[in-house]
Symmetry: C2
Subunit: 462 residues, 2 copies
Amino acid sequence: MGISAESFLSARRQATIAELMRFIEIPSVSTDPAHAQDVHQAAEFVAKRLIDAGIVDARVHPTAGHPVVTGSWRHAPGKPTILIYGHYDVQPPDPVAAWTSPPFVPVVRADRLFGRGASDDKGPMMIPIKVTEALLATEGALPVNVVFLFEGEEEVGSAHLGEFIEAQAALLAADFVLSADGAQWRADLPSVITGSRGLCALEIRLDTTGKDLHSGRHGGAIANPIQALVQLLASLHHADGSVAVAGFYDHVAEVAHGERALIAAIPFDESAYLQSVGASAADGETGYSLIERNWIRPTLEFNGIYGGYAGPGKKTVIPSHAGAKITCRLVPDQNPHTIANAIADHFRVRRTAAVRLTIDVEKGVAWPYAISPTHPGLVLAETILAEVTGKTPARVRMGATVPIGALFKRLLGINTVFFSFATADEDYHAPNEFFRLTSLDAGLTAWTRYFRALAGRSIQAV
Amino acid sequence: MGISAESFLSARRQATIAELMRFIEIPSVSTDPAHAQDVHQAAEFVAKRLIDAGIVDARVHPTAGHPVVTGSWRHAPGKPTILIYGHYDVQPPDPVAAWTSPPFVPVVRADRLFGRGASDDKGPMMIPIKVTEALLATEGALPVNVVFLFEGEEEVGSAHLGEFIEAQAALLAADFVLSADGAQWRADLPSVITGSRGLCALEIRLDTTGKDLHSGRHGGAIANPIQALVQLLASLHHADGSVAVAGFYDHVAEVAHGERALIAAIPFDESAYLQSVGASAADGETGYSLIERNWIRPTLEFNGIYGGYAGPGKKTVIPSHAGAKITCRLVPDQNPHTIANAIADHFRVRRTAAVRLTIDVEKGVAWPYAISPTHPGLVLAETILAEVTGKTPARVRMGATVPIGALFKRLLGINTVFFSFATADEDYHAPNEFFRLTSLDAGLTAWTRYFRALAGRSIQAV
């Protein structure tokens, strides 16, 4: 006699959208102290949705920063347990004037729901809650065990998430993480994320004299710190674009030929991409395609350089100092600390006597992350994406850093499967953020199938 | 019965100092439009001194900028003619708060006359005027022919001096220039200047994308303009510090072994020099001493570099552009235009497809200058300096640019002998500028002897 979870969700589609709009109306901007109360209100909103869904132990946990919301349902003995991750905080709406409609007054236009956080991550994170609600309402039980973990600091670096996870390891115990965050690469191509790059950062500064000197009176006598700097920086790359730092590639995990073949098969319009960023040509390490260079190869990037006079016209000075900021995007299994120190050593052995070298290695790093393409949770995500979209999903890596993958791996020893229905074109972190209602529908269908299908699979932590 | 010019000068010493103090009281700051009337008043002051000295045709010439003051005495047929150069404008006094006594309230402390312009160049340029006055007053004639040329734009680049010289070539005709400007190198060592370096300037800028890009999402795909820039800039020098630009040294005039031996013989405390500028070590082209590198070797200096983020902390961007400012100090017989273009060509042939290269070669240049060490006017200056100081003068080159040497050479075809009694330690261009009264005395004696001795010499324009 009972209706299916799918029918339940269909019948409540408008109510779900209305609920999501109320969620978006809460300006939970985590970076702005003026919005601290709004962030807390958003946490309470999420806990209430979980309780309404039937997650009776849902609660808001205070942290040294913004709250974490958890809830669990562990009544499927012998079945896999998934840790569902998402975040309820949002980016600042600036520049507000660039929005067609106010950022915290959600509105649907042309089947898209506009508002700050619609795509990142309020829309996507509501999906597993609503699916849980539908299954519990219609079947009285979930096919698998679930734990929810929603944080309020994703947009500000998840500063307190690590200590929360460590403290609550028992509460959070699961076979793997299924993340509602982590937008798909493109709207026209379903995809699963198989890895993300790590990050290390350092700054180099060369000092020579106490103050800038007249280039005529002193030129030729005294070291020019920019000259010394460009020599050092130029030595960091080979002519083929590869990094020349000793040991840089030592622990780069070999990428299976199969993965490279899959990357090569992804339809990608390189000239459209270059045009979109205003570049006249691609550039980078030879021997790899543009996508490979961005996904599976580490980089050493100069983020900034300074020294001497940079205003209009000329100024005949020998600068007193010069410096540069460097970050590396790292791939499995590079150690960010080891790499930063290798670069520092590269400078130390090459410095000349006439410059005083200061190297500031940033303590904070992000670790690269990769999941095995055979991880059953990932394979299931691919299967269901293919069913729901009618297309074969691509396996993509993130060129950027997605810290939670490495965080859960390090603290709980489990992998993360990204199963978000946001797409990278939805202007999150920009004005006029939106979430496609078709993606909401697809997500509700896909997560319901995922829960059900997972119950029949054997999961070993990979 | 008449007294000697020397006695005349001695008797009027206090009056001369008082007159110089009145001159310094006029704030003839040429760079500041608010002081335009003061600059004009200083020109009138100079013309009046010349007339009082017996130079009856002295006059103030308007130019498109500040005035030029001239005067001549050509009643020594068969004798050499010298063009006496100096300037009556001064540097701004900023920072005024750093002065012990107000910059335009001259005061004598410990045998030093303090005040803006005391050393550069009001004190030194008053010397030939007072010597002329003394000789005409006591002997009724000068031993040689003289033409005075005092400008009011030296501190702002002598923008209108060239066209004035060209227009007044007949008035200014002389065998050589004797300059009251061009401070001696050191207070402890008399010296004559045998050359100065030239200058060319250019800026290079590399553009890649329309805006800074996220280094994760795009790192590896797109050229990093700082990486391209440091590669280009690093290619400008060889490992030995010499310049790697093709043709850079092609026209560098060979320096006689004798001149290098003289330079080597100059007492010079390198560690004291390095300490004075705050440098831990000297640096530059191998195979040359510190002084040689500063005097007789050309340099290619980076004056500034910019690109990306230079604020506190890190910012994970791939910059959209990067650039650098470059100047070269050039030696005889390098052509500043040729050198700037050679550097531009160096960049053009090495640029990569992924960057858009912009090179801005500055049209304004300064030419290097050198006078033959056997020029009779120079040899005479050395002889008299040795007599007056009791020390053998050093032959020095200016690492900096002294444009008037090349200007007179180019426009009038004559050489310039620098015969200033200012010294480089007198804080001109800085607070608490001063002129040693002992230098005033030595200058009056030396210029009197110079006039007299020159009458007995044969001068050929070299």
